[in-house]
Amino acid sequence: MTAPLHEPTAEAAPSAAEEAALVGGDAKAVQGRSLGRIAWERLKRDKLALAGGIVVLFLILVAVLAPVITSLVGQDPEAHHEDLIDPLFGTPVGSFGGISGEHWLGVEPVNGRDIFARIVYGARISLLVGFLSAIVAVVLGTVLGVLAGFFGGWVDTVISRVMDGLLAFPQLLFIIALVSVMPSEMLGLTGTGVRLFVMILVIGFFGWPYIGRVVRGQTLSLREREYVEAARSLGAGRFYILFKELLPNLVAPIIVYTTMMIPTNILTEAALSFLGVGVKPPTPSWGQMLSSAIDYYDSDPMYMVIPGVAIFITVLAFNLFGDGVRDALDPKGSR
């Protein structure tokens, strides 16, 4: 963790590196390293962050390959297996919620749907909403944040007030209200499609002020730097400065906030489905599974533990990775 980074040498090195490049020898000479390179090397040494990243990759694979995985195992997330249910109590037959060679994680009470298949498919919903709503938030936050910071004046005032207002809003309440009031059919989508679309938009919409504030602050300080002034005095236009001088320097904070936002969004989706306003059965979602598990917390505790652990592992992996990315991209970081 405390291994030296040789940053001073790297900074003092450009002429040496150029020389080396001219001579043709590259490996031995001290090289100047880009920020991205430094960040990547720091990230590589952060074991926890790497572990988180690997789990995230694994989860993405599971989500993408969900139909393949379930058909390989021979299970369907929406098929009922009432024969595995105790007719008296409605709970699965057998120990640990009906875990068997066939049903790896047991079956759901009452209808006997395979939990493993539902967990695998549930990853799709979680990751889809997590990523896409983060993208909505990032696009909105970056555009509006840059506009506010770059143009200043009344543009800045209006955007900043809106951001303050949104941050002071009782968010979960408004997300629930908005999601529940949306029509069940729109833009040619129906059922789960609409619900996902609305959830992504609404979660993303309430997330943008967090990124917007950071981007605005960064833009404000970058705008006054000498290199921007130099570009301006050379006759560069507004859009050139915006895209060539400012945006590249905003990439690091945007990446950090995006990685930190994804787990929050996943939790929000799970919460909405838990509260019954998100994805509805039979479409599998982890939050909705937990909510049905409330009634069985005493008679079939495994039913509650499995989706809970799935959410926990996913969010933890994203958080570990996000923390690692933040530390790696932090120019002040000593690691």
Binding site: L172, I176, F274, D298
Partner: protein, 332 residues
């Protein structure tokens, strides 16, 4: 200071009006745009056209939105009379609306449920501040130690666990499994021990999540502040380390923590929806969730307003506290 307070109060009132307008828009304009009749959602599912028309008249749903917002605010101060379709419903001041779904005025619903939520939020806040701050400060002071790493791993796990999962788990273990706790909500008027028994699990579960968040933020802030020049100055002039920590580092660490506390507490007082659902606590959060499921708009409107009010007041209190805690902040 007084001018500042007046300005802030004015901003808070403006914000409240904005929120009410937004809520009205959500529930009145979106259905309209989607081609759904709003009046339908105020009456039962098996509504006949006459009843729908009556409700439309009673609630003034045919009026433009600004007129409806005005009627709503007027009702809070002078009460409101809903008439139309032959019958008349009185709603005394402060009238936060009337639910025709459940045939009750909103204000009593709010006053009934507010103490439950307030008790939950305040009790949990005491716990999480105590543990979160202590863990965060200790971790920052012993950076890299075994304690630091252990605490931060627990904290990271804490922020990754959904509250409805830890809540159910704690119920399964302590209430069903070990039988230590009854876990049923009992109002405070019916006895302290019953109330404590019902609140202890919700408090701990809620506090665990927030303590984890606060520990992480406290540690990061404290580490940043310990690197500031004025801390070096304080040390250089010979202050003992405990004094440096207590008088100089802690004070500035508290400012971002206070901001968070204001927002979190405000949001929770307005309804800890997830916690209340998990533990079946009859608070504002549960009321608003039921109302949303039943499309009972007046209740949603009332709770949203109370929530927003709580958030705004909490933020205001926090801003004033800033000046007390951090000598660098001057309110003007």
């Amino acid at each position: 200071m007084l001018a500042y307070l007046i300005r802030r109060l004015f901003a808070a009132v403006v914000m409240l009006v904005v929120i009410v307008v937004v809520v009205f828009s959500i529930f009145f304009l979106i259905p309209k745009w989607a081609g759904v009749d709003v009046a339908l959602s105020f009456v039962g599912k098996q509504a006949d056209p006459a009843a729908v028309e009556g409700v439309r008249q009673k609630l003034g749903l045919g009026e433009p939105i600004y007129a409806q917002v005005w009627e709503f605010f007027k009702g809070i101060f002078v009460g409101r009379t809903y008439s139309g379709g032959g019958d008349v419903t009185e709603c005394a001041a402060p009238c936060f609306g009337y639910s025709f779904r459940s045939e009750q005025a909103i204000w009593p619903v709010l006053t009934d449920r507010f103490p439950v939520t307030l008790g939950l939020a305040l009790g949990a806040a005491v716990l999480w501040l105590l543990f979160g701050l202590a863990a965060g400060v200790l971790s920052a002071l012993k950076r890299g130690s075994l304690w630091d790493r252990g605490a931060m791993i627990v904290a990271l796990a804490g922020v990754s666990l959904p509250i409805y999962f830890t809540g159910l788990l704690s119920l399964a273990i302590f209430s069903y499994g070990l039988g230590w706790i009854n876990g049923e909500y009992v109002p405070l008027e019916d006895g302290l021990s019953g109330w404590l028994d019902g609140m202890i699990l919700p408090w701990i579960t809620l506090a665990f999540l927030y303590a984890a968040m606060y520990a992480r933020i406290t540690r990061a802030t404290m580490l940043e502040i310990l690197g500031e020049d004025y801390i070096r100055t304080a040390r250089a002039k010979g202050l003992r380390e405990p004094v440096v920590i207590r008088k100089h580092a802690m004070r500035s660490t508290m400012t971002p923590i206070l901001t968070m506390l204001g927002m979190d507490l405000g949001a929770l007082i307005g309804g800890a929806i997830l916690t209340e659902t998990t533990f079946s606590l009859p608070g504002l959060g549960q009321a608003v969730l039921n109302a949303i499921k039943n499309q009972d708009l007046p209740i949603i409107l009332g709770v949203t307003l109370i929530t927003s009010l709580a958030v705004l007041i909490a933020n205001l209190v926090v801003d004033v506290l800033y000046a007390v805690i951090d000598p660098r902040v001057r309110l003007s």
